[in-house]
Symmetry: C2
Subunit: 498 residues, 2 copies
Amino acid sequence: MSGYSLHQPCPVDEVPAWDYETDVAIVGFGAAGACASIEAAGTGADVLLFERNSGSGGASGLSGGEIYVGGSGGSDAQRAAGFEDKTEDFAAYLKAAGGPCVDEAKCDLYAHESLKHFDWLKAQGVPYRGNYLPGKVIEPTDDSTLIWSGSEAAYPFCEIAKPAPRGHVIQHMGWGGGRPFVDILERRARELGVEVIPDARAVALIEDKDEGCVVGVIMRIDNVDRYVRARSGVVLATGGFVMSEEMRRRYCPETFRINSPIGDKDDGSGILLGMSVGGDAIHMDQFFTTCPWTMPEPHAHGVFVNQAGQRFINEDCYHGRVSRYAVDQLGDRVYLLLDQAHFLQPIDLAAMSIAGTGDSWEEVEAELEMVPGTLSATMSLYNEHAREGRDPLFGKRAPILTPLDQGPFVALELNFATTYFSFFTLGGLHTSVDGEVRGRDGAPIPGLFAAGRCTSGLPAWGHGYSSGMSLADCTFFGRRAGLSAAAAKAGTKARQIA
Amino acid sequence: MSGYSLHQPCPVDEVPAWDYETDVAIVGFGAAGACASIEAAGTGADVLLFERNSGSGGASGLSGGEIYVGGSGGSDAQRAAGFEDKTEDFAAYLKAAGGPCVDEAKCDLYAHESLKHFDWLKAQGVPYRGNYLPGKVIEPTDDSTLIWSGSEAAYPFCEIAKPAPRGHVIQHMGWGGGRPFVDILERRARELGVEVIPDARAVALIEDKDEGCVVGVIMRIDNVDRYVRARSGVVLATGGFVMSEEMRRRYCPETFRINSPIGDKDDGSGILLGMSVGGDAIHMDQFFTTCPWTMPEPHAHGVFVNQAGQRFINEDCYHGRVSRYAVDQLGDRVYLLLDQAHFLQPIDLAAMSIAGTGDSWEEVEAELEMVPGTLSATMSLYNEHAREGRDPLFGKRAPILTPLDQGPFVALELNFATTYFSFFTLGGLHTSVDGEVRGRDGAPIPGLFAAGRCTSGLPAWGHGYSSGMSLADCTFFGRRAGLSAAAAKAGTKARQIA
C-alpha cells in the first residue's frame, strides 16, 4: 500500500506495471514543456508530453508571446533599428535585473546564447516582422517585433549596461501572441513525433532509491493512476504556484496585498514534486506584479506618490518594476498623478479610479485628504526639476520626464485590493543551467529536470522583472532541460535521493 | 553503503548498531532544547541532549534573557506597574506583529498560556525582580524586570491592541541575561536527569520508511558517527541559518545588504534535517535586524530619512522595526537626524558616523549633498506638526515625538555596509502548536519535533519583531515540543515520510 502523492514519491518496486514507457516524460505543455519536448525528440528520444488541460498553453499561452533577446551585437531587429547590443551589456542588465536573487551562470549563458536561441525559435516557425516600435508600450497593438520591454533606459540600469530594446514579439496582430507562439511550438513538437497526452495530472514521482534517481512519474488520466517509466529523465514544466493560496500563504504571503493572480493551473505541483525527492526550492517569496498604468500612453509621464505624498521610484522604468515598488509602500494604495496635458480616461482593465482633482496640486492634495504640504511639495519640487530636464531624486529621464504643471490636475487611485495588479510567482526549484534539479546540497538529482516558472530562473527578482524574461527563460532553459533529459542515461544515476 | 547527510536520512535498516538509546533525543542546547529536555524528562522519559559546542547556550545564551509575556490580565510585574493586559489584546498584538507570515494558532495559544509559562520559568529558578523600568531601552542596564520591548505604544499597534510593556527580563545586572537564563535551565535539566552530550554535531536523521517515522539521529562525536535511537521522538532545536552564507543566498538574500549576523553556530542544520524527511520550511526570506540607534536614549527622539530625504516610519516604534524598514529603503544608507537638545555621542557599537552638521536643516541637507528642498522640507513639516503634538504622516506619538528645532543639527549616517545592523533569520520549519514538524501537505511527520529559530514561530515577520519574542517562542514551544516528543509512541507512527 503506497501513500504516494505530490509530497511523497512512489518507490519503483511498488509500481504494479508500467502503463507507459518512454525515454523522456515531460509534465506541462506550456512553452517550457514544448521546447523541452522538441529538443528531446530531436535527439531521437521517445517523448511523452503530459498536460493537465485538454490542450497546450499553460501560462505561456496567456502571455504576450514576447521573449527577451539580445547580446552578440544585437538581433536582426535590433541592428536594423540601430541598436548595437553587446553580450556584456546584456549580461550586465540581466544580472542587475536579478538583484539579490540572481543566478549569474544563467545570466551569462543566456546572454551568450540568446541570439542563437532566437534563431532556433524562428527555425521552429515563429514569425517575426523584424521592425522596431518606439515608445512605451506594454505589448504592440499591431504586429511589430521589437519593443522596449524593461528598464533598460532607466536609472540605474542605464548606468550599468548600455540600453537597447530587447522585447521580441511574435508577429501577431494585437495582444495575446502567447497563444500562437505555443501553437507553433506544439505543431513542431508533433511533427517530431512527440506524443501528447492531455487531461493528465501529475500525482507523484517514481524513484529508484537503490540507484538514487527518478525513473518515472505517476499521471492521473480518466481518474486512474497511470505509471509512466522514463528511461532517461522526467522534465517538470508545470509553472509557478500563483493559483495555490495555500502555498502562497506559506511562501509568498505578500501577494495577499493584491488581488489578481494570473496563470493557468499554476498550483505549484511541479515544485512540490521536485521537493518530494529532495529538490531545493529557492526565492519562494519573489513575485512579479504589474498594473497597466501606462495605458493610455500619456499616463506613462505620470508621477507616483504613496499615501504620505512621497515619490518612491523613477516612473520611467518598467511598469512592472514601478508596480512592484508601489506594492511595497506603507498603506493600501498609491496615486498616479497626471496633469491636463497627460490625462486621458484610464483603461477599464486597470480598474483605477479618479480619487481627486483640482486646479492646483494643493487642491488635489486636499481632495485626497492628504497632509497639507506633502503631495503639493513633492510636485512642486518635481516640476521645478523636470523643467530643468532632471530628476535628481530618482533619476527619471527625458522624454518620459516632463513637468506636470498644466491644470486641471488629477490623481488616479491604485488600490491594492481593487485595482488590477496582476501577479505571478517567481520562486521555484533550484536548477543548473542544464535544467537539472538541484538538491539542497547543490548536487543534481539524477533523472529529474525542470524549466519555466516551477524553477527560479532569469526573472528571479520581482523588482527587476522585464517583459519577455519569463518566456525567454522558459524556452531557452526548457530546451536545455529537454536535451539534458534525453542525454541522461540509466546507470549513470548514482546518487541517493532524499 | 549509505550516503546519509543533512540532506539525506539514513534508513533504519542501515544502522550498524545503536550507540545510544533513549526516549527523546534533542539536538541543540539553547533555550529551546533546554526547555524541551526539562519537559520531556519531567514525564519520566529518558532524554539525551546533544550540543555541538562544549557547553550550552546557543543564540539564546547571547541574548538579553528577555521573554515576551502578557495577557490574562497581566503578569505580577505588569499589574504592579499599573498595566492591565487582556489576553485578547496580547493575541491581537502578536497577530499584528506576525504580519503576512502570522501563525494565528500559535499567537492565540501563547496569548492564553503566557502567564502560566512565565510561572513555569520562575519555577525552574529564573529570578525576576518584578519592577518596571519606564522609558525606551534596549535592555535594562540594571536588574529590572519589565520594559517596553516592542511597538505596543506605537502606531498602528496601539490602535490594534491596548498597549502594555511585555518584555520580562531575568534579574541580572546589565546586558547579557541570556547566559544566566540558559544556565538556570541547564541546571534544572541536569537535576531532572537529562544527559548532556556536548561536542556532538548532527549529521543525519534516521528514518523507518516502513513505519513512516523518524526513529533517531546520527551524531558525530570525536569524529565518529554515533547512531542514536530515539524510541519516542527527536527534537530539533538547532537555531536559524544566519551563519550559513549559502542558505542565506538561496533563501534570504536581502540580508547581504547588511553585515553583522548574530548567532552561535546557526547554520540551518536543523532546517535541512527537517527538510530531508519532507519537512516544510516556510517564510525563509524573513529576518530580524536592528541597529542600536536609540542609544544614548535622547537619540530615540530622532527622525530617520532615506537618501531622498524622506521619512519612512514612525520612529517611536521598536528599534528593530525602524531598522528593518530602514534596510528596505532605496540606496545604501539612511540618516538619523538630531538637534542639539537630543544629540550625544553615539555608542561605538553602532558604528554610526556623523555625516553632516549645520545651524539649519538646510545646511545639513547641503552637507549631505542632498537635493535642496528635500530633507529640509521634511524637517520643516515634521517640526510644524511636532510642535502641535502630532505626526499626521506616520503617527509618531508623544513623548518620543518632539520638535528637532534647536540647532546646531546633526545627521548620523547608518550605512548598510558598515554600520552595525545585527541580524538573524526567522524562517524555518513549519510546526504545529505542539512542536510537530509538518510536511508540505501540512500533516505532522511522526517522530520529529522542532522548536526555536529552526522553526517559523511567533516572530515570523521581520517588520513586526519585538524583543523577547524569539526567546518566548523558543521556551514555550520548546516545552511543547519536548512534551510531544515524550508522549509520541512508536507504533503510532503510521505515516510515510518523503
